[in-house]
Amino acid sequence: MRRAIAAMTLVVLANGLVLVSARRDRVAPAARTPVAVCARHIIGGGTSDEAPALRLWLAPESLSTPTGLDASDLRALGFAEQVVAAVGRERDSTFRSPRARPAWVRLRQRSDSLHEWSAVEVQPPGARPAPDSTSVVLHGLVVIRERPTAPPPDSAPGHDHAAMPRAHPAGVVHPFVIEVIPPQLHLDHRQIATLRSGLAESAGCEVQRQAVIVTGANGGLWVESVR
């Protein structure tokens, strides 16, 4: 019986810890960031099996180097010297992509037609950037990998090169943010209902709604409201 009580206490403690820290976080928000929401940004809701959430789509252009990813910053993230030295050059046969490194990432929503998110700043785990009203700050993983070079002009659709033996050109080694954690923000049942009804006619980003993402006192993120 004693161990059953201990197991139940563990459940209560774990739930209590999360709820209390979430409550503390939400008492004094540090920043509010208004964002545009399109149909492709939301998942779940209604009778869907997925939990309703606002997905933080990373734009492919995040491959461009954000602030904080030059040689000294990459060393600060823990990448080895020979890996850092390979950045910006064509990958040679000795290059091995290292394991991803955790970092703080500042994301800013782009104002183009897709409203995806770009990583604009990266900092080592010990130096969290301050939140502001134009961006959100969260955990992310940085990798240094080969970015494939653009295909040669003659490989446009219509040309059949499948049968031609050809060496694949080596890409340029580049650092980029591969993942943000969490990759999506929870939406409650009212928020998802509002968004679903407002964006029902749209599949892409022709129609938009607005949401406000709040950064809490301890750095937690949540969707406060949707319009």
């Binding site: 059953a4 197991a7 209560v12 490194r101 969260l138 929870h186 409650d188 937690g220 949540w222």
Partner: protein
């Protein structure tokens, strides 16, 4: 694995059958008084075992128990699936309070049910299943809390679920939750290797050396953790499996080593040599200490290890038919060695 009570009951039944056979063949004839004394003692022992726990006193009863266990297992899976599908199909329409209640109450209720089942059904089979579902419900609870409050995933959930399963396993002597517990705490320890390497905790699963240490720790755990005797083979078996799987992975994929700054070929070669030593030592240790599960897991690992070496050495050198002929010949050789070892042990006894 049968309980100690079941093993004792089975031993008594086997003894009776063998004694009847010996008497029929004229090998032995017990004095009626002695025979009666043994019979009375065994009857009392069987009655006590039947009263203390759920033991099968005949082959028919054992078959019936197996059927009941399968029905319980299927029932538990079906109930868990019904709960999971119900929650997921209505999740988006529920308020936060209801969502929290739906994920935090099940582990608590299932702990209570585990307690009731352990008291009522002495074999512990039903309690074992309920406790395992409780551990899964707790894992779901923590995962959902993280999702509701947008928390970054964390290795602490592994520790919490592992500790929860261990409390139920040791509290009620249940094997299935023990496996979940070893997996949870072992997984947590494994990911600790990510800290000195400066990796995100999940990427710790891609580094094998901590897994080797976890395997070693689990192998020795029965020596320093007090608990039911039936737990020891599970600790050793899972420890041996972790050690062997880790070695088989790292010796083939050097990039999973923590020492990736070194030459990959050197790492793989080093681990191949180390693997041969470890596997031999593991099997020898298992035979010497009579740890059957260690010998079985170690032997399976050794066969896999040797098969991989045969692929390394011969696959590209010889035609495929000859390669498989070599593997077949090798299997026969292993069989001969094991038969000789087995014979030597029988003679020694």
């Amino acid at each position: 694995m049968p309980s100690a009570d079941q093993l004792r009951a089975s031993a008594i039944i086997t003894f009776r059958e063998e004694l009847t056979r010996l008497e029929a063949e004229g090998v032995v004839a017990l004095e009626p008084a002695l025979r009666e004394r043994i019979h009375a003692h065994h009857e009392a022992t069987l009655a006590a075992l039947a009263a203390a726990g759920d033991v099968d006193l005949s082959a028919a009863a054992a078959r019936l128990s197996t059927g009941m266990r399968i029905a319980t297992l299927l029932g538990t899976i079906a109930l868990s699936a019904a709960y999971g599908l119900f929650v997921s199909s209505h999740w988006g329409t529920l308020s936060l309070t209801l969502q929290l209640a739906l994920v935090s109450l099940p582990p608590l209720l299932l702990v209570v049910l585990t307690h009731v089942a352990a008291a009522r059904e002495r074999s512990g089979y039903v309690a074992s299943l309920i406790a395992t579902v409780a551990a899964i419900a707790f894992a779901t609870n923590l995962g959902t809390l993280g999702q509701l409050f947008n928390l970054p995933d964390s290795r602490t959930a592994l520790l919490a679920v592992g500790a929860f399963a261990m409390l139920l396993a040791y509290g009620y002597g249940l094997t299935l939750p023990l496996i979940v517990g070893i997996g949870g705490i072992g997984g947590w320890l494994w990911t600790l290797g990510a800290i000195p390497l400066g990796l995100w905790w999940r990427d710790g699963f891609g580094v094998i050396e901590p897994l080797l240490l976890v395997g070693l720790l689990a192998l020795t755990a029965p020596a320093w953790i007090r608990g039911p005797a039936k737990f020891a083979p599970w600790w050793r078996g899972m420890g041996a499996a972790a050690l062997i799987i880790g070695l088989l992975v790292v010796e083939n994929i050097g990039q999973t080593s923590a020492f990736t700054a070194a030459d990959l070929h050197t790492i793989e070669l080093g681990y191949k040599l180390f693997g041969a030593v470890v596997l031999t030592a593991l099997i020898a240790w298992g035979i010497r200490r009579d740890h059957r599960v260690v010998v079985q897991v170690g032997s399976a690992g050794a066969v896999l290890y040797l098969f991989m070496r045969l692929v390394d050495w011969f696959w590209e050198l010889v035609p495929q038919w000859l390669f498989f002929l070599l593997v077949g010949g090798f299997a026969l050789a292993v069989l001969l060695v094991l038969r000789r070892l087995h014979g030597a042990r029988v003679v020694a006894r």
